[in-house]
Amino acid sequence: MNRPVTSPVEPMSAKPPLEPAAAPFLTVTGAAKAFGGAQALADVSIALRPGEVHGLVGANGAGKSTLIRILAGLVEADRGIVRLDGEEITVVSPQQATALGMSFIHQELAFVPGMTVIENIMLGVPKKSRFGLVDWAAITREVEPIARRVGISAPLGSNVKGLSTAENWLINICRALVRKARLIVMDEPTASLSAAESEKLFAIVEDLARSGVAVLYVSHRLDEILRLCARVTVFRDGRTVADFERADLTHARLVEAIVGRAVERTPKSGEADTRGAVALKVRGLTRLPRVKGVSFDLRHGEVLGIGGLVGAGRSELARLVYGADAVDAGTMELDGVPYAPRRPADAVAAGFGLVPEERRADGLVLTKSVAFNLTLADLGRIVRSPALPLIDGGKRSKLAEKLVADLSIRTASIDTPVGRLSGGNQQKVVIGRWLSRAPKVLILDEPTRGVDIGARGEIHRLIRALAAKGVAVLVISSEPDEQPDLCDRVLVMVEGRIVAELEGPALTRNAIVEASYAHAARTEETHP
């Protein structure tokens, strides 16, 4: 059971599979799904076998979570076939997914704080009853061995308050077993576990597989994948690009499959370097647990990228700089003057603008018009006079029309509700909001997510044009191609820290992805 930890470079081919693989019981063939204009899944296939730990890897946005959501009955695939025991199925609800024997364990664990361990295990599970009352004694007798098997050491009757994340994982696994799950999907299980806790979890995952349960193991941590998985499927840009058996697995091959052999573009050779004096100086910025002592300088006219994997702390960093969250420690200076925003309004007053990651949730008032959303951050410009702050309809239309034209926002009119625009045009509205203010620093979090190719090019040109005017731009992106195209310099973040700075010829898509993964592996090894 305790296989030696494989070092990332040594292939596992030396070890033959323990037993001949069983036939797949759950297969997905040719699944596709688009959200708005964005193709989250183009064509993915995967086959899961009982008693196997099956790894699923891929860069941010490769389509892993979309596949999981389809299996869980949270979204409906546009195309593709799911077969369970040879029979074609469509999972339409999470309840149905559970009934079919699938359990899903996410990073945000489902458990109720005030209840006992056993009550949490039995959450949503039909319970034995006597005389109309839940028969906890009988249930405990039945669940006890399963709980011990997955390594729950706390008494089943004790309150879950104070249990660690690791123990919550065990509770969720136990619940899956009580429900007689045939497939357990684990999404980034070790993201918030210590090294010792991870070890325990690995042993349990292996034990689950031995007992015949299929585990779909989704992780960015390739050393775990190499160690645990009998088979690994790699997604890239919404497609299945590789299926490895254990014998063929190596760290290098996995990275290669994740990154792809895309033709490297020449990094931004055509662009003039527009960098000027330092605009924003950040020193030791910290907000635990996601941002740990981040320091960097951002210059006027510079487009600075923050790269890394989802969950590395990039959006949290942006929120700190923008005053949306409180800082634990660290200092900032804007144009040489101390800058300590207590709320976004302070940041905006100081000359910042933010284009948030979730434009529908955090960027737009969807039911309101394009004009409403475009003028929201600069209302002072569209009133009759500062003394009489009545909205001047003429000024408002003029400003909105100008921004619509400047950004080529495609909309029926400026009075159209912004929710009816396509993703790319919605994004242009959020960006456009800041242009009339002539910001000093503009922060864009995933500026082209869910945006079609054409709009993406336009947004990139717009960002470069802003930099040319002296705006300091910070771009967070999870799309591997985006930052080499767009940025003068990229800082790669891993687990709350900046681990690499890439610039000039060194700034390539592969370099960003490799820095994200290489350092993820190393931090895991040196974990206390």
């Binding site: 949730a361 955090d362 409403f372 702050p389 909205i391």
Partner: protein, 329 residues
């Protein structure tokens, strides 16, 4: 769940449902007026009766218009009815017992209303107490203060005739004062919300607080403003009610809470998809006023008014959320 339900609706069905949700309240108001006119052609469709209905509905419209501001910024204010009761006692007490001139007493009470709203706003935004609980708590405290101030006895004796004229008078072209005040309040709040820069911020905070905050709007300030407006309008209703009744009575205005909520939710289902707005509230209040007037004319028993009011509230909230789910899908 709603998303799943909507996904299965055809676009035509959705459009039809949307039109129904937007115009159901107006159709209901028109239908009610037509029905009452046909059924009671002599008593109902007269200028006198309509003025009367509007005059009586004005107090509810004022308090409901104020409440609209609180709900637009995404909060509920349950203290308004209790606050209005306290303000009625306070204004009569200040005039009768403390001998303050009427304009001064009115001004003091309006400031007190603003202060209560300010406190509500602080509790909700700074102490992060859910607005339902915060305003219910504040309202209950106000009821206690009202009893303490009046020692449980209505202030009746010595209320000057000039104070009664505040509500009963017709100072402007023979239009009842209540209606004039209501028109000024509704017109003013409509302008504030729909036509000013602050109004844009109010609508943004209500439409998407997270986006508003990240766009640089001080959302706490806007929410406090919503509560202050709600508090001032409650004070105005309390003053006019005391003037109309000629007394300050504890609990006199408590029932305005439910009427105001029914009006606000009916209003949100009017013309805009589940979005609260001042003009909608006005229409909602009219529906309720004409409904009660009709019941009175036909001599319906008192209990039926409660049944009607409860039913209207539920239907209104149902229509409102129907509109919203259509707008979001």
């Amino acid at each position: 769940m709603t998303a799943t339900a909507n996904r299965r609706l055809s676009p035509q069905a959705k459009a039809a449902l949307g039109i129904f949700a937007r115009y159901a309240t107006i159709a209901g108001l028109v239908g009610m007026i037509v029905a009452f006119s046909v059924l009671s052609p002599r008593a109902f469709p007269t200028l006198n009766n309509f003025t009367n209905v509007l005059n009586q509905a004005s107090l509810a419209m004022i308090i409901a218009a104020g409440l609209t501001l609180a709900v637009i910024v995404g909060e509920l204010d349950l203290s308004i009815g209790f606050a209005a009761s306290l303000h009625g006692i306070l204004v009569t007490g200040l005039i009768v017992s403390s001998g303050l001139p009427i304009p001064v007493a009115v001004a003091v009470v309006l400031v007190a209303g603003a202060l209560i709203g300010f406190v509500n706003g602080l509790i909700v935004t700074k102490a992060k107490v859910n607005s339902v609980i915060a305003t219910l708590g504040v309202g209950t405290i106000l009821t206690g203060l009202a009893f303490a101030y009046s020692a449980g006895v209505p202030i009746v004796a010595g209320v000057p005739e000039e104070f009664l004229q505040l509500s009963l008078g017709r100072w402007l072209f023979g239009i009842p004062n209540n209606i004039v005040v209501m028109a000024v309040v509704v017109g003013g709040l409509w302008t504030l919300v729909e036509r000013t820069a602050i109004g844009q911020e109010i609508q943004a905070v209500g439409g998407n607080p997270s986006a508003a905050r990240l766009a640089g709007i001080d959302t706490d300030r806007i929410k406090i403003l919503g509560f202050v407006v709600s508090g001032v309008c409650a004070a105005l209703t309390g003053i006019l009610l005391a003037s109309r009744l000629g007394s300050g009575t504890a609990s006199a205005a408590d029932s305005y809470l439910l009427t105001a909520f029914a009006a606000v939710f009916l209003g949100s289902a009017t013309l805009r998809d589940g979005e609260f707005h001042v003009l909608g509230t006005l229409i909602g209040a009219l529906i309720i006023a004409f409904g009660f007037n009709g019941l009175n004319i036909f001599g319906a028993p008192t209990f039926s008014q409660y049944v009607l009011q409860g039913a209207i509230l539920i239907v209104a909230v149902g229509l409102s959320s129907l509109g919203r789910s259509i707008a979001e899908s």
